[in-house]
């Protein structure tokens, strides 16, 4: 156990409080990148982590690096550390070489295949996860002070996400499997009691990607059909959610009117622009990510 021993510090006590929450089986994970959009190590204050009004801004953060990425509720979770590795000598004595790796496996029940691709993309960044357990407690990793927490870091090379097809006896599921980073010590996992949180796994949501290609029909009219990456239509947007920009002149365009003319279909009337100018339509609304829509620029007639 040489790795935990400090020859200058002999202070050691084994008392424990009479009532202390230690956490329960995982109900959902909240993926979070290690660094924020400015490149700084991401630490979140305990008081923010307890507050739904703050958490909801993280769920809808513009930048992926600042966003919280919750999974749906998980089933058949296993979060088990492998056995420690020992060296055995000819005499029969043993010496501990290192702790075993801790492996996580969980299943999202009856989730669509498209989610597999989204979850795989998380592994493109250095990332970790917070855990909300069956009792509603939140667990994260010890931060630089007692009032902040970090995600429990995951070895991104070990992330494995697979769609498990339905059988005669089992429903379709998505399996998530990974190994926590070896530097993540169980003794540094911190817990915020469910009593302190004003939200649960059921309140958390991931964003839906929205795509659509605006199609102009005249100098002053265009139409767009908005669909999610799951192929569902996006209804319920209002005029104030949309922003239109002339990229050629870098000038915002004042939208005259928006008409919801069908499921996911929106008709726009705008002032005529110079023919050939490149226009960009985007939108902003909680629960949706409109980056894909903004990528589909169109040409003014």
């Amino acid at each position: 156990m040489a790795s935990v021993c400090n020859c200058n510090d002999v202070s050691l006590n084994t008392g424990i409080p009479s009532c202390v929450a230690i956490g329960d089986i995982t109900r959902c994970l909240i993926f979070d990148t290690e660094l924020d959009s400015t490149g700084s190590v991401k630490e979140r204050s305990a008081s923010d982590l307890e507050s739904w009004s703050v958490v909801e801004t993280w769920l809808n953060a513009v930048s992926f690096e600042d966003r919280w990425l919750p999974t749906p509720e998980l089933e058949n979770v296993e979060n088990i550390r492998d056995e420690a590795v020992f060296q055995e000598f000819n005499s029969g004595n043993k010496a501990k070489v290192r702790d075993g790796f801790k492996n996580f496996t969980g299943y999202i029940v009856q989730a669509p295949r498209e989610l597999v691709g989204q979850l795989k993309l998380i592994g493109c960044s250095d990332f970790g996860a917070y855990i909300i357990d069956k009792s509603g407690n939140l667990m994260g990793y010890k931060g630089s002070t007692n009032t902040v927490m970090r995600p429990i870091l995951i070895d991104k090379n070990t992330l494995d996400v697979q769609f498990v097809e339905a059988t005669d006896s089992e429903v379709a599921m998505i399996m998530i499997k990974f190994q926590w980073k070896q530097s993540m010590l169980d003794e540094n996992i911190k817990l915020i009691s469910a009593d302190e949180l004003d939200y649960s796994c059921a309140d958390l949501y991931g964003l839906l990607d929205v795509c659509g290609t605006p199609v102009p029909s005249s100098a002053t009219d265009f139409q767009v059909t908005l669909t999610t990456n799951y192929g569902t239509n996006v209804d319920g947007l209002i005029a104030g959610d949309f922003t239109l920009t002339n990229l050629t002149t870098s000038a915002p365009i004042v939208i005259g009117s928006v008409t919801a003319s069908g499921s996911g279909v929106y008709d726009f009337v705008i002032p005529a622009q110079t023919t050939g100018d490149v226009l960009e339509l985007t939108a902003s609304k909680d629960r949706y990510d409109f980056d894909c829509l903004a990528d589909s620029t169109f040409i003014a007639l």
Partner: protein, 57 residues
Amino acid sequence: MSWKKIGQHEFNVEAIKSMSENQFKKTYFKKLGENCSKIYFEITGKKKPKKKKESNK
């Protein structure tokens, strides 16, 4: 920016106010049909000019 909803249409009030009734009709007649003028005055809050009575000589 304020918006006024009429049926499935949401109009930018300031943008419509900056248009004349004729400009509005030219832009929106296809969408709104015969109600075009009525909707224009509803959005802008402007009063429809009364037709001059023919004077009896």
